[in-house]
């Protein structure tokens, strides 16, 4: 099979997944008990007329999927004038809808929030990757020693730590030294230049550290086991016999071969980090996608929920696709899939 066939197949598969997610997203939130009109206007001072007005404004007066009544009357086209068709057709036009809560365009809210989560996840993942790879490599090389035991124990301990718990502990420890919440001190603007960016940096330290500590452990464990496997191969023995230095063996032989499982892990982790980001963003009041999702769930803000989940689905599918492509480049054997 040709490599291009393999890629086309993967891309098609990604697109089908996306279509399923689009439909699934719509129904998932509507299956939840609860009524957005009631939870958004939770004020007891809401008259019934006002409530009906909100319902019409949100388009919630229409049937969800199929207007059975109109179908019964033979009005086939009218029967599809539903919330679902409105959602799909708006989506086809690139319109993610208007937030029930703030009445702002969902695409606008997402555009504002997404880079903040990207910054946080990227910083956390990067730190975790560097630390994890290094520690995993050391651990595998010094297998069975105190160093190995120490690293392993640390990794297992952190692996089991709940994200929010670690976050709160760090928050208490850093009290007075670092800001405990938010992304920037209110009032500072990007126009302020250095003052703004250094302030953002200060706010970024604790959430990044929390994320890095949690995710380092996965990389340590994966790296350790795959390097150990590689080290037991005959060609390593050959390399040693040829008098290659430890550093070169680890760097050029072991690391190269251990990279495949790492790629899988990174792609998989992307999905997990988004989940972890919800917790980290909540503990540290970081105004990213995770916070947005959390608020939207409690408010039953369907358009925002659909928008964020769609974005996440696209991110995860894209990450998997990228991993597949990388795979086929790194390992010529991966073609048949």
């Amino acid at each position: 099979m040709q490599r291009s066939d393999y890629l086309i197949r993967k891309v098609l598969f990604g697109l089908v997944t996306l279509a399923v997610v689009v439909g699934f997203n719509f129904f998932l939130f509507r299956i939840l008990p609860g009524d957005p009109v009631k939870s958004i206007a939770r004020s007891p001072r809401l008259t019934q007329e006002a409530r009906e007005k909100l319902r019409i404004e949100f388009g919630l007066d229409k049937p969800v999927f199929l207007d059975v009544e109109r179908l019964g009357k033979g009005d086939v086209i009218g029967a599809f004038d539903t919330q679902f068709t409105a959602y799909v057709s708006a989506l086809a036009h690139g319109n993610l809808g208007i937030s029930f809560r703030s009445r702002r365009a969902v695409s606008e809210v997402l555009a504002e929030r997404v880079w903040r989560t990207v910054v946080l996840v990227a910083a956390g993942e990067m730190l975790a990757l560097v630390l994890g790879t290094a520690l995993g490599l050391i651990s595998a090389w010094r297998r069975g020693t105190r160093v190995d035991m120490g690293i392993l124990l640390w990794a297992l301990f952190c692996w089991g730590l709940p994200t929010f718990f670690l976050g709160i502990i760090l928050l208490i420890l850093a009290q007075g030294l670092l800001p405990v919440g938010g992304m920037v001190t209110p009032g500072l603007k990007p126009e302020n230049g250095w003052a703004y960016w250094s302030d953002v940096g200060k706010h970024l330290i604790l959430p990044t550290l929390t994320m890095a500590i949690i995710y380092t452990s996965a990389y340590i464990l994966i790296m350790r086991s795959s390097v150990m496997e590689v080290l037991s191969e005959d060609y390593i023995l050959t390399a040693k016999a040829k008098g290659m230095s430890t550093f070169r063996i680890l760097g050029s032989e072991a690391l190269k071969n251990a990279i495949l499982p790492m790629v899988t892990m990174i792609a998989l982790n992307l999905a997990y980090t988004v989940g972890g980001a919800i917790q980290v963003e909540t503990v540290f009041s970081w105004p990213g996608i995770g916070r947005l999702m959390y608020e939207a769930v409690t408010m039953r803000d369907y358009p925002v929920l659909q928008g964020t989940f769609l974005l996440l689905a696209v991110a995860v599918i894209a990450a998997n696709l990228a991993a597949d492509i990388l795979y086929s480049m790194l390992d010529p054997r991966v073609k048949a899939g």
């Binding site: 206007a41 006002a50 007005k53 404004e57 703030s102 120490g150 124990l153 420890l173 209110p186």
Partner: protein
């Protein structure tokens, strides 16, 4: 090798805990400032209004602008008053009504200097204050008042519609006179209507279509005549406001207020301890003690307009078992529940046992003849025995005459300390042979159990009332069911008549008698078991500010910020 691992473990587990404990413990206890109780409030209220705090405060004109940094878990849902249903207290910084809400039960002339009522109570004539300007500099006139009242009456500003209920016509007679004509006399004009019927600038809102009004999510939507103007609002992050130099009561002491939004209460408490914020609008119960022990932090306990109650399904179409409709069973339930324990466990002791749905802060409107029913399981058992509910099969659960066991569905929202309160109630009921296992769910699912299905037996609930008792009494009327305001489904024509009469009674004494009567009916029929009146607990940095009077019930209320703040530096 073993020792090293243990040292590591100690370092990893014990040290953070130790640090946490150290952070929590601090220096000597700071005294709690107790708010004056509701009965003293009126006398307290009168004195300070004569001497505004601005003169007491050290002159701050040349000094650095004074900033109050507030930590909060929520700000509000939207800037636009037409779509924003939350944060009334904060919105009140930006706008004024004709009448100003002061203490929890107090009112003063606001944008109206004075007013007269016609003999029949239908025509109200207001003299509008002169020389007041909106934040954008345009003068506020009688025309703006009449125009914005009409906007509210047309339902264009949904959240405020209730405050012009029963208004038939509002016209500006001349630049300083406004006349409001009502469709029927109401006792509520001064105490429940005009403080939230805000005056909006005609120049900003005129010419907008319905659609444009709903999409007016713009700082300009907050232009009013109030003491603060909006500088910046970023959703889920922060809000910055600045003092209105031209406020008609004089420039506020605090020049700038920054509200920082925290997603977790713990982070907010840490921010107060480290001085990152000066005030937090809500103290989680777990943090009360550490904050009391902390230096430079003052914890304040204030009266509130909140009620914690146990709703009993009283709807005629409800799915509750027949036995729950029996007044004897309801009375026994109230005897069985240990309200004090709920206060101690669920509210760290900051609350009072309840008797009426009207809260003590409502003062004389509360019927003093209704005393809280004491916790007395023996009496509860006696009542049930007498009413014929016996445990025939010896399984520990009583049955009614038809042999149906007294098993009830007991629900609460999955929030705060509700889980623990529900367990206490469940245990209390088990003591008198009633089975009611506690079930928690999210708020939206709870709402779904009400109108039209009425598919529950008992729900633990919370209300925050208006200062006037009218709204609290309204939720028990038959009309409230159609308005989705009723949570008990209670409907009693005799009660509705009394409710209507109190709303139309212009004589306060007559109105009081009717309100007392309404409370007696509710006490008999018991759609609610009123559990407790919780206190409002807030905290601030006493090294930066001093709040001299707490009778308005909230440190962030306009009245408190305008009158009772002193600077400490």
């Amino acid at each position: 090798m073993k020792t090293i691992i243990w040292k590591d473990l100690i370092g990893m587990i014990v040290l953070p805990m130790l640090a946490a404990a150290l952070a929590a413990c601090g220096a000597p206890a700071t005294p709690i400032t107790e708010a004056p109780s509701a009965t003293e409030a009126p006398t307290q209220a009168a004195a300070p209004s004569e001497a505004p705090a601005a003169t007491e405060a050290p002159p701050s004109a040349e000094a650095e602008p004074v900033t109050l940094r507030v930590g909060a878990t929520t700000i509000w849902d939207a800037i636009n008053p037409a779509t924003g249903w939350e944060g009334y207290n904060l919105r009140y910084w930006f706008y004024d009504g004709l009448i100003e809400w002061t203490e929890l039960q107090g009112f003063e002339p606001g944008l109206a200097e004075s007013w007269q009522v016609s003999e029949d109570g239908l025509v109200w004539t207001f003299k509008i204050r002169e020389g007041v300007t909106f934040h954008d500099g345009t003068p506020m006139t009688a025309d703006d008042v009449a125009w914005s009242m009409n906007l509210l009456m047309q339902g264009k500003i949904g959240p405020l519609e209730l405050y012009v209920q029963g208004f038939k016509e509002v016209v500006a007679l001349d630049p300083t006179t406004v006349q409001i004509t009502l469709s029927e006399p109401t006792a509520l004009m001064e105490t429940a209507r005009l403080h939230y019927a805000w005056i909006l600038p005609r120049s900003v809102w005129e010419g907008k279509t319905d659609e444009e009004i709903l999409e007016f999510e713009d700082p300009a939507a907050l232009i009013g005549t109030g003491p603060y103007k909006l500088v910046e609002y970023v959703e889920d992050e922060h809000m910055i406001v600045e003092a209105n130099e031209n406020y008609y009561r004089g420039k506020p002491v605090i020049d700038r207020i920054v509200i920082q939004q925290y997603a977790t209460e713990d982070a907010m408490v840490q921010a107060l301890l480290s001085g990152e914020v000066d005030l937090i609008d809500e103290v989680p119960l777990t943090a009360v003690q550490p904050l009391l022990d902390a230096q430079n932090v003052e914890v304040v306990i204030m009266d509130s307009l909140s009620l914690i109650d146990l709703v009993i399904n009283s709807n005629v179409n409800g799915t509750q078992p027949e036995s729950l409709n029996d007044p004897a069973v309801r009375l026994a339930l109230e005897y069985a529940i240990d309200k004090q324990k709920i206060i101690d466990v669920g509210y760290a002791g900051y609350g009072e046992a309840a008797s009426s749905p009207l809260v003590p802060a409502m003062g004389d409107w509360v019927n003093p003849n209704i005393q809280p029913i004491p916790h007395d399981p023996d009496e509860a058992n006696r009542i049930l025995e007498e009413a014929g509910y016996l445990d025939g099969n010896g399984d520990g659960i009583r049955e009614d005459a038809d042999g149906n066991p007294l098993e009830y569905r007991l629900y609460a929202e999955e929030t705060g300390t509700y889980a623990r309160i529900l367990e206490i109630i469940s245990d209390n009921l088990a003591e008198i042979g009633i089975s009611a296992p506690p079930t928690l769910m999210d708020g939206d699912s709870l709402y779904d159990l009400l109108e039209p299905d009425w598919d529950f037996d008992m729900i633990l609930w919370q209300w925050g009332w208006d200062p006037d008792p009218d709204f609290a009494l309204y939720v028990f009327t038959c009309n409230a069911i159609a308005d989705y305001l009723s949570d008990s489904g209670y409907c009693n024509e005799a009660y509705d008549e009394v409710y209507k009469a109190q709303g139309n009674a212009l004589d306060p004494e007559e109105r009081k008698q009717l309100i007392w009567q309404a409370q007696e009916i509710l006490f008999e029929d018991r759609p609610y078991i009123n559990l407790l009146y919780p206190k409002t607990v807030q905290a601030y940095r006493s090294d930066r500010f001093n709040f001299t009077n707490l009778s308005a019930g909230d440190l962030l209320k306009k009245w408190t910020l305008m009158k009772y703040v002193l600077l400490m530096e």
